[in-house]
Symmetry: C2
């Protein structure tokens, strides 16, 4: 039995047996690019989800949360790009419900079995004729190799589609986890169980109760999407849906080695996608890992890492290949984390730049090559405890300003 | 008796009788621009100060805090621009002390009577020969009209010097408050009593005990500098020093109408300077007032206003003249403030753009002219209580990225 975890080449949601998908052009995007995705499970799938913790949660988020709480099975997940259906009130909610009904009718399933997600402009009512067109085009286009097309259809300011799949062997059975995600801006998800605009659809062919899936998804979200930031702005629409169609015949149960194996595989897929979201963050030219180690508590480590990861001065310095560690320690200092400034060490990759809260004496000319790389790690050693936290972040460039000073989908 | 408050034309610290100042070129700035300021009180001045709450407080902050706590009198305030003396450890602290001694000797006063402040690059030891040169040049240059020169010498990325003075009449005596400040980036001060890199020197000719000054300064800082943000990055060096030289012969006492009159005048000067800091924020093209009203509590109002004021997506939209209110409500939603999304109204100036959490129906073409102005107000009415908060903020432009992707003073 091969216990190793393998990423599949060109993996996607449809790498999972029993899953179909399609990506079509419904007309939400002026560019004419694909903007409507449909993912379909040939068999009823157990499911769960985690969603934005923004108070202004979008209509599809409100609806999907209800479905997660109610339980049961999911067959389809319909996603449009170009309109967020957020801040649209009762009409927006009715439109989200109507989308489920239209999809259900076209697929011959129940509306309860359809989840929806939207991304795009906030505060504009959904043009329902485009939803109708999307569904009418997507249903006949559903196919066992439609995962790639679906992952392109959910893009907004993304420059690349993001899909992945891994395989592991559990109980002698080959198990696949396939997923797709989008998101390049308004990215600082804080996903919480039924209560991040990143959208993610994950499918797998294990069989597992909804509660088992929920127990799995939240900590994996915590260690993947909840640890990324592009601009520090949490979205109204962040949604991750996990579907388990049971097609493999293998049933996943709690408190088993296989549970942990599966969780590791799920986390691997989610982290892979999370990393790619940051790399493809709006205008991003650098992938920066901020690690805080030896903090007094997990909360302190998180405060410190998130302050550095979201610091506009740090992010613009990185864009400029400027190894200005003063901005890193300033962010640590205002983070609210408990720390002794005289004990802090800071490393750029393996090079100590700060020792005991002061200059470690490495000439700037030695540091510029590190921060000029497309990916580097900043480690802040607080030397005060054993808690740690890691954040994946990007730089802020002129292109970021270009994109966001004039974003009208 | 004229009770009105009057701003003086070309007001500065030296508008205050008994105050001298100078601004000279010591050599900290490669550009050769003035970079060393000295403010001098001809008589011993009562004083107080408020400082950054960053854990990595710079050496001059540590030293000035000590002086504020110890009490006594202040005669001189020496400020250099081009080196922050932050994260410089014991050597940095010794250098800050040495600066006080050099200035004291040159002025014929005690080192205890000298406060120091620094702004510029973090983590570089202070070139003491430049401090010596600065003092040697500044002392003979001290004059009763040196306030303007001093305000220029403390600039870093500021494009304009910032000085102001007001006069009021208290007990039949004309009282002057004069001040200068600098700060265009790393601006999100959270000044706290003896515990923002904005620097501010305020002088007045009332007589008042240090404790009376302290009671006055903290709430005024709270309502001025603590309500501004440029980039959300708090500095290691933020320092505000208030000196009261008593030259007017009028003594200010607690629990008097004059105390409130003086506080209003002090607040007026500090707010004037705070507004100018935001207008001159790095790369700033817009001055945006974010008001949150009818919040359940002051804390909720503050969370909500600060989230909008620091949102990178809001700030880039403003730069682009984009009336995308979805970004405003998203920020309200992730702020952590208690609010009912279905009750929120949002106004751009006097135009309602959001009613009950949704689009108020005003065409975008009517909103673009508002957000294209150099100054506008965003009011978020949470309709949930009677607490409110206001933040002054700027947009984020290409010039901001230019400045901060390559800032080496």
């Amino acid at each position: 039995m091969d216990n190793s975890l393998q990423f599949l080449e060109n993996g996607s949601v449809t790498s999972v047996p029993g899953m179909k998908a399609a990506g079509v052009t419904a007309g939400f995007k002026k560019s004419g690019a694909p903007d409507f995705a449909l993912v379909f499970s040939e068999t009823p799938a157990n499911f769960t989800g985690v969603f934005t913790s923004c108070t202004f949660a979008a209509a599809p988020v409100l609806l999907d949360r209800e479905k997660v709480l109610r339980g049961g099975f999911l067959r389809a997940f319909a996603i449009n790009s170009g309109n967020a259906n957020a801040c649209t009130g009762e009409t927006g909610l009715a439109n989200a419900r109507r989308s489920c009904e239209i999809a259900a009718k076209a697929l011959g399933i129940s509306a309860d079995e359809v989840a929806v997600a939207s991304t795009g402009r906030i505060g504009v009512q959904m043009p329902m004729e485009l939803i109708e067109r999307g569904i009418a085009l997507a249903v006949p286009a559903l196919s066992h190799d439609g995962g790639a097309a679906a992952s392109r259809a959910i893009m907004t300011t993304d420059t690349l589609p993001k899909a992945a799949a891994v395989q592991i062997t559990l109980g002698g059975k080959k198990i696949t986890i396939g997923a797709m995600t989008k998101g390049a801006g308004m990215i600082d998800p804080k996903l919480t169980a039924p209560h991040a605009t990143m959208l993610c659809c994950i499918a797998t062919d294990v069989k597992a109760e909804n509660a088992v899936l929920a127990e799995m998804l939240q900590p994996c979200a915590e260690d993947s999407f909840n640890r990324i930031t592009v601009d520090g702005d949490m979205s109204t629409n962040d949604t991750v849906i996990l579907m388990a169609n049971g097609v493999s015949g293998y049933e996943l149960k709690r408190n088993t080695p296989e549970f942990e194996q599966f969780r590791a595989a799920l986390l691997a897929v989610m982290q892979d996608l999370a990393r790619r979201m940051v790399m493809d963050g709006e205008g991003s030219t650098k992938f920066v890992t901020v690690k805080v180690i030896h903090a007094a508590s997990r909360a302190d480590a998180k405060l410190a890492a998130e302050a550095v990861g979201n610091s506009l001065l740090c992010k613009t310095a990185w864009f400029g290949n400027d190894p200005n560690w003063g901005r890193v320690v300033a962010a640590l200092g205002y983070s609210g984390a408990l720390l002794d400034p005289d004990k802090c060490d800071v490393y750029f990759d393996d090079t100590a730049v700060v020792r005991n809260g002061g200059d470690a004496g490495v000439p700037e000319s030695d540091l510029v090559p590190i921060v000029s790389k497309s990916a580097f790690v900043i480690t802040c050693d607080l030397r005060d405890g054993d808690a740690s936290h890691r954040v994946w972040t990007s730089d802020i460039s002129h292109e970021y300003v270009n994109i966001n000073a004039d974003y009208h989908t």
